[in-house]
Amino acid sequence: MKITTIISSKAIRRTLLISSITVVLAACGSEQESAAPATTSAVAELTGFETQVAQGADLFATNCAACHGTNLEGTTLGPILSGNTFLQRWGSGTPTPLLNSIQTNMPPGGGSSLTADDYLSLTAHILSENGMDTVTESLTASSDLVIQDNVSAIAARRQRPAPPAPEGVTVAGNVDDFVPFVPVTDAILENPADGDWPMHRRTYDANSYSPLDEINTENVGQLKLEWVWNMHEGDSEPAPLVYNGIIYLINPGNVIQALDGKTGELIWENWAGPANRQDMRNIAIYGDNIIQATTDARVIALDARTGQQVWETEIAEFSKGFHNSSGPIVADGKVIQGLAGCWYYIPEDCYISALDANTGETQWQFETIAEMGQPGGDTWGGLDDVFRAGGETWITGSYDPELKLTYWGTAQQKPWVPVSRGMTIDDVGLYTNSTVAVNTDTGELDWFFQHVPAEALDLDEVFERVLVNRGDEKLVFSLGKYGILWKNDRVSGEFKGYKETVFQNAFTNIDPDTGEVTYREDIQNAGLNEWTSACPSSAGGKDWHSMTYHQPSGTMIAPLSQTCLENAAREVAMVQGSGGMAASRKFFEMPGTDGNLGKIGAYNVDTMEEVWSHEQRASFHTGTISTAGDLVFAGDLDREFKAFDVNTGEVLWKTRLGTVVQGHPVSFAIDGKQYIAVTSANGGTSPRAVPDVIATEIIYPRWGNAIYVFSLPE
């Protein structure tokens, strides 16, 4: 007897657990008959695929379900592995890329006990759960079937109960009914009104500094909640944008809302799709439009008054793994947009795009990976171009209108460890893990500075570039996962200094004159499956939570994190379509911190010395902002939103929100009254996953995305 192809994996697993199937005959007769049922024995002839599915179900429960959910529904620690999102990503190909991705990257904590057959079984289980049930032969590493051609009704039935996702404008309204909309000009963005926060870090220099001072060190203790608005659920790290009293808010799933900043009333809502639970950190405003990047690598302009779509441009192919998690900056009439998901071995590389802000037409692209024959192309160990991966620009850059340069950080090479990518510690891989200064007129590279060449621990330097003027000096500051605050001249890129903000033991030397780093010898020579222990961890000494430059005191205040990791490289097949991250990781408290994961550090930008620090058990999950009221605001894992004295670090006020305080605070004013807004949110990668495994005593709701707005009492 061949088991029908619609048998569930649980049923198959039960079948495997016994050597024969006991068939309970229907009790057509009396209860006495059922007390002594007749049995018959039948050996289940499972197909090779079904056997893999059954074995894979057990392996998945043991190794994968903690992050991806028992039913592949995803959690905050791992993405959903079923349904439309999954099939869009993997359905058009054979199982091999999926198999390679799993084998190369999963589970993050180490897969040494999983055999090649186990990975095939896991792949079979995931495909079966996604409705692939017409296959009988065992999967192999070279199975040539196309996934979506073998998916039948089961996957469709699982998806049917979900209501169709909304599309386009779902709540109609007009900002003009609240306040007359004034088109946003270059001049407005170069010098915003004090009460506005019209881009992700308020100003082109990414200072995250508000000149408002109604709320100050004397009265911040009186802050009260003005209103709260629940946001859509999903992964969320948002930076609200405030212009002329209206809050434009990016929600998970590519949903934007316009809210009256004074009352919290919804004006309009637009679903650009895809309707998922994925994260987008920021949006932009220019002319008459709100401009958003989507999680499937499109850029869309919406009418800021009504939310109606104006134009749309696909900047990269989502089906090839490209996507976005951060939005654009508009500089000199161009929408400058980064790109993420560039870790596969494919001919296409990562790039920064510039689009005409009025039409969406592509103006230029700057590729962050140097190919053979190009300047810097000889820094990839002679690898064929198809195997040069990484260099994502997953955090939005900044802009100097006078120099016409936009400053971006780039992520590290992929896979994470040199031995996995067929390279050595000497193959620096331009222009990864660098600051790149790109001319906004031409898209040409003006200069670059590679902070950590040949990166080896998944510690990238991709985060915000903060522009600071000190006397005649034009400077750019950055702070990457190694926790090193870098100071460079932003005209030439020249190295000007550094400061270690948290304990690091990855480098044995940092040249004080050049900034050149020397990796510890065991990190330099790490082989496949060899564990290397280092600090900080991939949660970063600093991560995506941006720092603020407080202009009056000349202080840079950064949200920092203190954890460490053990890292082991995995082997990656040098074949097209392969690639990925390819490392196992484990995490632990940073020695010498007394278990304090969270740190806010303040640094004098002239001397680079630490002015003050605040350490606590809960990690911080917002960027820091500073104000002319001499305050710094930040929020943490334990749901606390705090105001610090910018000069001393003293906590002057705190309150507790519904769940983790995550995103970017902003300050704005309406009719002369100052407000402080911050989001609570869930989701995220290493900065959330690492504290979750170390500070397990910190409990918070796994829902509760919202924006909270505070002000002083009348």
Binding site: N63, P107, F588, G595, A689, V693, I694
Partner: protein, 148 residues
């Protein structure tokens, strides 16, 4: 009163001896502390590598007194050691500690350290590790730092 040479000399000698005594006493009372926390974990293992602890170490000459406690381990302790390795870098066992066969209890030892290990102690290059039945490679760990 103006101090004469002899008075000054006696006074000076007394102050010198007192200073040396205080200095030696201070040296003899060098105290250190280790915060014990779970060995490296993942989302898959965080519920099976658990616990916490705090250990105080006092150095008198070459004698190191170890006294502390731990709790919340996932299974009973099997052994405990001092290892030699810089912060966040595992290293070899250099001394044995005493722990009960329990998921919670006291960590104790009275050790004679070599000059080399005293140097390691002062350089934050010693750490304490407690092993358990289900986590034989170690369940709790903490580097030793001078107390402020």
């Amino acid at each position: 009163m103006k101090l004469g040479r002899k008075t000054f000399s006696i006074t000076y000698t007394f102050i010198l001896v007192a200073s040396l005594f205080i200095s030696v006493a201070a040296q003899a009372q060098e105290t250190y502390r280790a915060r014990l926390s779970p060995m490296p974990t993942t989302p898959q293992t965080k519920d099976t590598i658990t616990g916490e602890g705090e250990v105080f170490l006092t150095l008198n000459g070459n004698t190191l007194s170890v006294s502390g406690n731990y709790s919340g381990m996932s299974s009973v302790a099997t052994m405990a050691h001092i290892h030699n390795g810089p912060p966040a870098q595992p290293g070899p066992v250099v001394a044995q500690l005493v722990v009960p066969a329990s998921t919670a209890g006291e960590v104790t030892a009275e050790l004679e350290l070599s000059d080399e290990l005293i140097e390691a102690l002062k350089n934050n290059s010693l750490y304490i590790q407690i092993h358990s039945e289900t986590n034989a490679p170690g369940e709790l760990r903490g580097w030793v730092f001078a107390r402020n």
